[in-house]
Symmetry: C2
Subunit: 459 residues, 2 copies
């Protein structure tokens, strides 16, 4: 029998021509965004001052199963896609497991992650509408880098509000974003009203994604030619990321295999949602029933310890309300938390699918264990993984060890969403044993929950 | 007509099964290494205290045209090879050139460069011989990273002597090497006799590859179970790197094309030699006659301003003598020089081929121009290139602009040997306009030339 190659590459012409919009197939739709002023579901017009029109339409679209990828975006995809599905032979050998481990590797582009899949789409639609400038936030920096790359290609101006703790810990990540021509502002900053307010209330804060979102939105609202774009959480972002899962399914078809377990790390949910959604369609269609696991950091446990309720997506409370798992828009992860996955909420789509147990499980992992898994993976598989992605690696290893114990040769798939080349400070802390874990106490979480707004009739 | 895809990937089974040993085909062989004690050509026994046996044999082998790649190395190659040949459509469009630009991209592995091709081979042979430890030097850090990755995989101990200026400018590169389990020592160091001597003569020196080589060799000679390995310059390294050119030729065959111009950046010569040698075979066979250009930094101009003579490969003068283009073993590039390509000499094979004008041209480029080319390339082609590789980009752009002016649609190939993720300090200096150029004066070069040894009958 022909051994499966290490890397299963599709041909260029096999890059998916469409994105998959899982909302069209969900038997129980997720709850709509709510306008916090009217307490009514968000309509297209509510979005237009913030988002460009085509993205706003995509955000609200729960009817079209597939959306065609425009030629201009498809051309850009061709510069770095298809990404490989990799058989982790060396890791399997190291773990002495009968499991077959696969990972979809989205890190082989300069953004170092899957984020470019949605960045290219968002910049293209903004350009098409005649806009000249975008604003966004970035945490660990992958999204900011991806957007800067896409803006350089489509020739758009960009200002990136970078969570201050990342800005300081990752000067070289910032430099990459600048090399592609974007401005980078540490958040919270003095350049916005919300930034000044947050700074006066929390002097010395390292910032959070929630703060940076507020600042980027405020800046976008000031100009007619400018809109705000977001790298995760939103429905259209998850839809763009479905290219990951569609390619993965096509690659598995080539080798006549199908995963028993699918594992994705989840901060806002775009990577896990993109990887899983085409497989969830198979669940809806009762063709396959893979076991789905979302992995989050123990220090920001929205799925495993949060509440499923309406909350703002930002700390400044200027976004619509989203029904999601949340630890509260005012929750800021401990500064000892390395890497991304620091958003207080979770994609409304994934939240609903998890709430309905279509997604089977969520696990929270502590970062020292995650870096231990990352280091083992790097040594076996050669790739230095991002801390975010390493949450999925940790669980894949645990599941493979279970297979060793039970003797089962399950097929395990995880998303290797990115590389860790700009996370070496965290790797150094891990090696020096100065890295610590942080598990919020119930009292810590209560403080976060207290920032979830209470509106009559909404929960 | 079918448009050539952006990325031409071979299948896994098309990874070359052999390395190409150009010495077997050179009509005029390069001059042999000389033992500085006896002034006679080096014999196998001279090499054995320093190199493991199989590599020493390969170093002296000028008869076997092809050497089979052992299975264990081939398996490792499969984890990150084949590398793509990429058509630079976006760069062509930006330059409005009728030229067809291709690059062979060797940076899509965590070492960020082609260096892994030889690292895997060298570690395997050392392991096979029963050795337990290796020493080496690294400049910009790619070689040290590659070797650490291969040592982690084959389970060997490793000490890396890292040129001090890189050690200080690239703490995160150092951390990657450590993550894979290797020790890193800044060179010159107090841990070797030669290091102490160099430090006493040049207090505050930023070091050089020549110094680091001396230290790594001295450390290796102290132990029976330890050998020294080198990432460039040597004949066997160039041979391992022929996998680059062999894959490139196979990819061009797939699209029924052949390059008119081939451009490689050259420090010690392993990347350019690996890319070019299979094409040089076509020159020997009079099948094709591509125009070959080597590109080096203006601050370390061994080919364009150096002498073709016998010199030591290291500053401590403990290596054999090699006939090569050299600016003198005591030449240390100005500390303002960013990136690698800082070796004082050049591969004896490439030196001979250039001296005989089989390689048509060498050019020296100043670093601000190189970073300008790098930034343009990054914006068009999405990949952030290594400063080293950007020397080749600069010349590829110049040649493409000539084509625009002449209306010729030449096929231009260059080696994109690596990525610049750990070179952001240099990119920042370029953006801040604090980066300066350095062209050594004739007097500067004379100081280097004065360190070239004079032996009767040798030149």
């Amino acid at each position: 029998m022909q051994k499966v190659p290490y890397k299963i590459y599709l041909e260029e012409k096999e890059i998916p021509k469409v994105w998959y919009n899982i909302r069209a197939d969900m038997p129980n739709p997720h709850d709509p965004f709510i306008n916090p002023g009217t307490l009514k579901p968000i309509k297209l017009d509510d979005f237009l001052p913030v988002f460009c029109k085509e993205l706003a339409e995509q955000e609200l679209d729960d009817t079209h199963q597939y959306i065609e990828i425009p030629d201009e975006i498809y051309e850009y995809y061709k510069t770095y896609r298809p990404s490989p599905l990799v058989r982790a032979y060396n890791l399997e050998k190291e773990l002495k497991t009968p499991a077959k481990i696969y990972y979809k590797f989205e890190g082989n582009n300069t953004s170092g992650s899957h984020k470019l899949n949605s960045a290219a789409a968002q910049v293209y639609y903004a350009k098409k509408q005649g806009l000249t400038k975008l604003t966004t936030e970035t945490g660990a920096g992958q999204w900011g880098t991806a957007l800067a790359m896409a803006c350089a290609y489509f020739k758009m101006d960009l200002t990136v509000y970078m969570v201050k703790v990342s800005y300081e810990q990752k000067p070289f990540r910032k430099a990459v974003i600048q090399t592609y021509g974007a401005d980078v502002v540490p958040s919270p900053s003095e350049t916005t009203e919300i930034g000044r307010k947050i700074l006066s209330e929390n002097p010395g804060t390292g910032g959070s994604l929630g703060c940076a979102i507020s600042e980027a939105m405020e800046a976008a609202l000031k100009s007619n030619n400018c809109r705000y774009v977001l790298g995760s959480v939103l429905n259209h972002v998850l839809m763009h990321q479905s290219v990951i899962g569609l390619e993965t399914k096509a690659a598995f078809e080539k080798i006549d295999a199908y995963p028993d377990i699918i594992i994705g790390c989840a901060g806002g949910g775009s990577n896990a949602g993109g990887l899983m959604s085409p497989f969830i369609k198979d669940k809806f269609d009762k063709k396959h029933n893979p076991y789905l696991i979302l992995v989050e950091p123990a220090s920001c446990p929205s799925l495993t310890r949060g509440r499923y309720t309406y909350d703002f997506c930002d700390t400044g409370r200027i976004t619509p309300l989203a029904k999601m798992y949340t630890v509260g828009n005012g929750y800021i992860p401990s500064p000892n938390h390395a890497g991304g996955l620091r958003f207080h909420g979770m994609s409304p789509i994934l939240s609903k699918l998890y709430h309905d147990r279509v997604i089977d499980e969520a696990r929270a992992e502590e970062q020292t264990n995650v870096f231990e898994a990352a280091t083992l993976f790097a040594k076996c598989e050669t790739i230095l993984p991002a801390p975010e992605s390493s949450h999925a690696i940790k669980v894949a290893i645990d599941e493979a060890i279970k297979c060793r114990e039970s003797g089962e040769s399950k097929t395990i798939l995880f998303g290797l969403s990115g590389t860790g080349y700009f996370d070496m400070l965290a790797y150094t802390q891990f090696m020096d044993k100065t890295m610590t874990d942080y598990i919020p106490t119930d009292a810590d979480l209560e403080k976060g929950f207290a920032t979830i707004p209470k509106f009559p009739g909404l929960e």
